[in-house]
Symmetry: C2
Subunit: 246 residues, 2 copies
């Protein structure tokens, strides 16, 4: 049977989602733990190959297994065996046609910036600390230009492996909470390699005044990575949720 | 001159605030870093001797130093030398009569409980994960009995060293946020050893129905540690703020 897992992890101590020759990945830990649990060779396929230091509350992966264990019980059996920085949030038997990456989905990411004079050590793994004052209203106005279907070449790492740079962003909001955490929340039908972090790096430059709000449409239309801002650090990024269209 | 520091720390990797023969404390790191910075022997006196694993956003300490460095610059010089899990939020020259523990103050603590079916690995150091459903409205009604001046013997560890168990709680709120973090926020003129964690452990029992709301006044009046709930784990507790009166 095919099983879908919703996986949360603290990415701090991993080299990212995907198996790497050097370094421990989330995928490797899941492969090994599942293979041990079911006493058969299991390899998971993930929806989002998050980078080193990036977190997830709801990444999705799937695997095939020969077992009589009910799908929804697998989460409990796995959580007893996983390290405390990886926690399965849900497990379920799914149709054999389900594929975490190729089945149609919406993804929601949050990029969180602690924007105040001094760092908060209790948030250092989950936020990017940035002390120059950010103008959230400017950031929101610039972000609004990204909503819709666009060619996001300017916001893709040169390491992107893809046929098309066209993606759709449904929604992007920039908010500041009472603790001075500025959150960029973005929902779209797919994201290029480093896309959310490059959007965050660009919005930060607009938030400080280093770039103008009106630069955003020009960056987008220029289709040139050099025009956008830097790739913001990984610790600010969390994959919040993936929603599949049946 | 006497200098006051407002100190934030992630308590995960420390044996607590106070210098211990075995284990590294926040106080020891500050003593050593300050002694090195000013090239003289310096010992800080802290306001709150938080336990191992307990965090602070605003603990306060003070020390005497012979220097011409302006008080407000000391935070920057210190932060360059401190490990990333201790961050000074503010430094200032204060009156020589100022004492972090004996000068009159209000303290605010938060005890945070992640209350849902599965843990969130990104919150594991800053919240206590508890999966039985908590009734926040019951917890708030029980907490209301604690407001005011009372003898808190029932909520003090037997290791408390104090002349009197009478303390005043000004305010206590129990709220649940959209991420199912239940926060017990309490402000008072002083707290006995483990008092906030024992209050949290008792409110958790009331929140699950193991104890009744109406048990709270009986526990308080009984002046017996055995009547209250267990001491909730340290990772849920954060010292938020200390406010000195003039």
């Amino acid at each position: 049977m095919r099983v879908k897992l919703v996986v949360a992890y603290d990415g701090t101590n991993y080299c990212g989602w995907q198996v790497q020759p050097n370094g421990l990945s989330v995928q490797q830990v899941l492969n090994e733990t599942l293979s041990q649990l079911f006493d058969q060779h299991i390899e998971v396929v993930g929806a989002s190959r998050t980078d080193a230091g990036v977190h997830a509350l709801g990444n999705v992966c799937a695997f095939d297994v020969d077992t009589r264990m009910p799908g929804e019980k697998i989460a409990y059996a796995l959580n007893q065996r996983l390290p405390e920085d990886i926690v399965i949030q849900e497990s379920a038997e799914v149709d054999a046609a389900f594929h975490p990456r190729f089945s149609k989905s919406d993804k929601t990411y949050e990029y969180r910036i602690l924007n105040r004079r001094f760092a908060d050590p209790t948030l250092r793994h989950n936020t990017y600390f940035f002390h120059h004052k950010l103008d959230v209203e400017r950031m929101q106005r610039a972000a609004d230009y990204l909503v819709g279907e666009h060619d996001f070449t300017s916001f893709a790492s040169i390491h992107s492996q893809t046929n098309t740079f066209v993606r759709t962003i449904y929604e992007i909001t920039v908010t500041r909470d009472a603790s001075d955490v500025v959150t960029i929340r973005v929902r779209g039908n797919g994201f290029l390699y480093n896309m959310v972090r490059i959007i965050a790096g660009t919005l930060i430059q607009i938030g400080t005044g280093l770039k103008e709000v009106e630069d955003m449409p020009r960056i987008l239309e220029g289709k040139d990575r050099e025009l956008a801002g830097p790739t913001a650090p990984p610790e600010g990024l969390t994959l919040i949720h993936i929603s599949y269209k049946d």
